[in-house]
Chain length 234, copies 2
DNA sequence: CGGGATGTTGATGGCAGTCAAGCTCGGTGG
DNA sequence: CCACCGAGCTTGACTGCCATCAACATCCCG
């Protein structure tokens, strides 16, 4: 379809998303099945337990992938940013809920059709394998945090990771970072409560490692080294 | 090489390992690069931080994949059984340590050669992608446990999972399961201490849900339903 | 301004970690 | 065959961290 193809060529994540891993003809096949969808903040893309009908690429925004216990406790098992892949090909049912944290744009692929395209697109399949491997590694590193680290290490580590994500380069002092999620989501991500997260942040403030503003959503990191030391004590 | 090929044909995990996903010619290519290696209990296959030189299939035995903090705390992020795939293709460095928990047999593939074989073996690559997706899902479900569940839920859930693994079918009462790991490994797996694991097991005993023998390594599950209820309270 | 959502601070308690002692079991050697 | 030994497991006393409950502050948006 011409419009879809045109969308791909000037897509914001043309290079960074999974589509970038394929040859021209593979991209063309993908473009046939992709459809744009916008999600409002808080809107759910897929529910755990529902039939697994969708895969997607994040074009813009931030989403969370969550798992929940039967008594309603929630763990954020992954955050998705522009360029990230969403979904579980080759699985009949989805066990995770995917929710937009801010207004987001996706490029949606029906799962079964996506799988068929994958079969004829070795470049895409390779790229998806690489990404899944990286996600698995991330998940395992986070299991270390959730199983073994204390509250202070978790919060300091979270901020350090945010800095790395932003790619602020060499500067180690006075880096301003934007916390893209609420305290509640931060707590669910780190396996803590809102109160504990808040307390640890004020503790970092007291240690002169950070300064907060914009209602705690903007963090001025006065010294990355202090933060790194608190995230990884000996 | 004829011997390697012969090894594959009568390999114990011929059907269940990643090799089973490919066509005959794909298997032949794999057999060229696979070499058997035996590991003693406690022996390390690969260290976190070393160059990433190996992938492998588990032929027999049990291995653990661990991540560690700088101050020496360890988290078991995965257990590997016969048929499971080991390693991280397409990554230059390995971030996890892999250790044999009992005497084990592996079929080792040099990483770069394995990657080259994958490029010409779509069936294998597909199978590896499926497995990696499953592992990612497992890791995420475990993040829920590590982040949100209490000690009792973790231990009861661990035993329930062991029963599922063993595939004891329909019988819900008086199932005997073999705990394949020490209390210490169980603790590292669950993000608890040895003492807490032990206490929770005696608690299960007091609740008449299980009986222990062989120094705590054999568990007679008197009622799976009680266990499931304790693992998933409301 | 005013009101609701979000974030912070405080008081308290419980669950799991720590430290320390005893127990069990399997293996070894006299 | 039994006494001994050591590793792994259990139990106990105590501590400390983080969750919980509750009040207050701040921000944002109309």
């Amino acid at each position: 379809m011409m419009t879809a193809s045109n969308q791909c060529l000037d897509c914001a994540v043309r290079e960074t998303a999974v589509c970038g891993g394929g040859e021209a003809d593979e991209l063309a096949a993908l473009s046939q099945i992709g459809r744009r969808r916008a999600l409002a903040a808080g809107q759910v893309l897929t529910w755990a337990g529902d039939a697994n009908l969708l895969c997607a690429s994040v074009v813009a925004g931030i989403l969370k992938v969550t798992a929940s216990t039967s008594n309603g406790r929630e763990q954020i098992v992954g955050l998705l940013f522009a360029g990230d892949f969403v979904g579980q090909p080759f699985s009949e049912d989805s066990t995770m809920t995917v929710t937009a944290l801010v207004e987001s744009d996706l490029c949606i692929y029906p799962r079964e059709r996506f799988e068929r395209v994958l079969g004829n697109a070795p470049g895409l399949e390779r790229e998806l394998l690489r990404r899944t491997m990286r996600s698995l590694n991330d998940a395992r590193e986070r299991m270390l945090t959730l199983g073994q680290r204390g509250a202070q290490e978790r919060v300091a580590g979270f901020l350090s990771d945010l800095i790395d994500r932003a790619g602020c380069g060499a500067s180690n002092k006075n880096v301003t970072i934007d916390v893209p999620v609420s305290r509640g989501d931060m707590a669910d991500f780190l396996g803590l409560t809102i109160e504990t997260v808040s307390r640890q942040l004020t503790r970092l403030k007291a240690l002169n490692a950070v300064a907060l503003s914009r209602g705690g959503r903007t963090v001025l990191v006065k010294d990355r080294m202090i933060l790194a030391a608190l995230a990884n004590p000996d």
